[in-house]
């Protein structure tokens, strides 16, 4: 029997944007997207959190080629702008056959082609179609097409749940199955490697310059060292899934899908509890109570 702890995940508001990356085939679209989303696991040190939201068919992209949709989250508008511009310039524009378009609309503009066009050194061409401006920047495999602006929207970061168990094989297997299902939910991303994080953090540290440090309550090796450990003798491993999303409902759905997958799986051996990370309700206004989700 897997226990659902009577606790909640605590999430906070973020700034978000969606980009559509296309390429000659899905393989190269994914490569560009993965490059963009590399080193974008946590705002603690990456500047943004990003991930692939879904794959898109030829009918779903502006240029009729296969593509992927990615979501990017950051704590401030300025940081979001900086991260999108730098990553698009260095990771998408450099990727063969790629093109990039905005995947959402709002009044808050984020310069994309509007800034990247200068790479064209005066040979760039502007095209205005359907009330949108596109830039054609000459590159060595032809042209890099880039929409003038991406757009900022509201997002929520930090939805999460923890899976506690007896051994790493059992916990990792359960979490992997959950991630696979959660990846099917639209409007959310799981920004950590493979959607899973092992180094859960708490706010602050005994060292002055650190804004985050290890979540000692869930570290098995600190059981007995600290009196605040939340792990019993049989719990030797904890893994976390962090979810960023566009709205509360989709984060709830993703959490529900992930937890249900673990609860309903035939393979439950070695899994003891599902919990969630929070800061006592002091960090963010979005509280996801685990018992309410199931």
């Amino acid at each position: 029997m897997i226990e659902i702890e009577n606790t909640f995940a605590e999430a906070f508001p973020m700034k978000a944007s969606r980009l559509i990356i296309t390429a000659l085939n899905i393989n190269w679209a994914k490569k560009a997207a993965q490059s963009f989303c590399g080193f974008a696991t946590s705002v603690i040190a990456c500047g943004c959190e990003a991930g692939i939201e879904s794959e898109l068919s030829q009918k779903e992209t502006p240029d009729g080629r296969p593509g992927v949709s990615i979501l990017i989250f950051s704590m401030s508008s300025n940081e979001l702008k900086k991260q999108i511009l730098n990553r698009t310039g260095q990771c998408i524009m450099t990727s063969p056959t790629s093109a990039v378009f905005s995947g959402n609309n709002s009044a808050d503009k984020i310069p994309l082609g509007n800034s990247l066009r200068y790479f064209g050194d005066g040979y760039q061409i502007s095209k205005f179609l359907d009330n949108k401006r596109f830039w054609r920047i000459p590159v060595m495999d032809g042209e890099f097409i880039c929409e003038d602006f991406a757009y900022q929207m509201k997002g929520i970061g930090g939805g999460n749940f923890l899976v506690l168990g007896n051994n790493i094989e059992s916990v990792l297997g359960a979490v992997e199955r959950a991630v696979k299902k959660m990846n099917e939910v639209k409007n959310v991303i799981l920004p950590f490697p493979g959607g899973i994080v092992r180094s859960g953090s708490k706010v602050g540290s005994k060292y002055k310059n650190l804004i985050a440090s290890t979540n000692f309550e869930y570290c098995p090796s600190l059981r007995g060292v600290t009196t605040k450990s939340k792990l019993n003798k049989d719990t030797n491993c904890v893994l976390e899934i962090v979810i960023d999303g566009i709205n509360r409902e989709d984060i709830e759905l993703a959490m529900k899908v992930g937890i249900s997958e673990i609860l309903n799986s035939r393979i439950k051996k070695g899994i003891s509890k599902i919990s969630a990370g929070n800061y006592g309700g002091k960090l963010g206004p979005y509280l996801f109570k685990l018992k309410d989700l199931i």
Binding site: P62, D63, G64, R65, S126, K127, G142, I145
Partner: protein, 268 residues
């Protein structure tokens, strides 16, 4: 939402200025207050047209019985659909801002001159200066879409700055002269001096090869912009002007003006 139907009571033998028809606000009852100029005399709209107002799921103005003397229809048009069931005079959709104009007959000169947005669909032909500047103005079409199923006359896209023009049949001389930017698609043949003085912009051709010394062959092009354009047409008009797999030769010019315009010619 309203459908307003106007039927001409007389045959217009002198110039009829329909500029004031664009004052029709589908939300308010101001139709009866609109005055129009016929033969330089002011008339109430109902004196020259039979007016019918019906409830509808979209705002639409339908006008029939017009002829080549009826100018300035859709002037600064910005809301709803204007459907013209007959021929129409010059300056159709001039300085249009938004909305849609559908003309089932032919049009005279200056269709869409100075328009900045919206869509004009002509099921038949148009004469000269489509998407060109108004007399005395320096900049032509500045946004929006013009689709002509029939033929178009001379000076199409003159000094055009933005937007898209599609012509299904032949086009006259001096097409896209001094073009600043924008996109023109010509499905059939075109006259002399295409793209003369072109600074930027794109022309897409299907029939005739370029022989002008003003343009240089830049080789085969598989610009992604063409796919983007194709998808735009599919979304707006439910057809693609060409296949995404079609190959094009790209010409660049007008080199005598240091221009960076481009002409795509479909490879057979």
């Amino acid at each position: 939402m309203k459908k307003i139907i106007l039927k001409a009571k007389i045959n217009f033998e002198s110039e009829l200025n329909l500029k004031n028809l664009s004052k029709i606000n589908f939300e308010e009852k101001i139709i009866s207050k609109i005055n129009i100029l016929y033969d330089n005399k002011e008339f109430k709209l109902q004196e020259l047209f039979k007016i019918q107002v019906q409830k509808s799921d979209k705002n639409e103005l339908i006008i029939s019985g017009t002829n080549r003397n009826c100018d300035y229809l859709g002037w600064k048009w910005k809301k709803g659909t204007l459907r013209i069931k007959s021929d129409v005079g010059s300056f159709l959709g001039v300085q249009m801002i938004n909305g849609k104009i559908i003309a089932e007959g032919s049009c005279e000169h200056h269709v869409g001159s100075g328009m900045t947005g919206g869509k004009i669909f002509l099921k038949s032909n148009a004469y000269d200066f489509v998407g060109s500047p108004l007399p005395g103005s320096k900049i032509g079409m500045n946004g929006g879409l013009i689709v002509i199923n029939g033929k178009a006359g001379n000076f199409l896209g003159l000094q055009m700055r933005r937007g898209v023009i599609f012509v299904g049949q032949d086009v006259g001389n001096n097409c896209c002269n001094n073009m600043i930017a924008g996109t023109v698609i010509l499905k059939k043949s075109f006259g002399d001096q295409l793209g003369l003085g072109m600074k930027r912009g794109s022309i897409i051709l299907f029939r005739k090869k370029i022989k002008s010394a003003n343009f240089v062959d830049s080789g085969e092009s598989q610009s992604l912009f063409l796919s983007l354009l194709n998808n735009y047409f599919l979304k707006v008009l439910s057809f693609k002007p060409f296949s995404n797999k079609d190959k094009f030769i790209r010409f660049v010019g007008d080199i005598k003006m240091d221009g960076m315009g481009e002409i795509f010619v479909k490879k057979n």
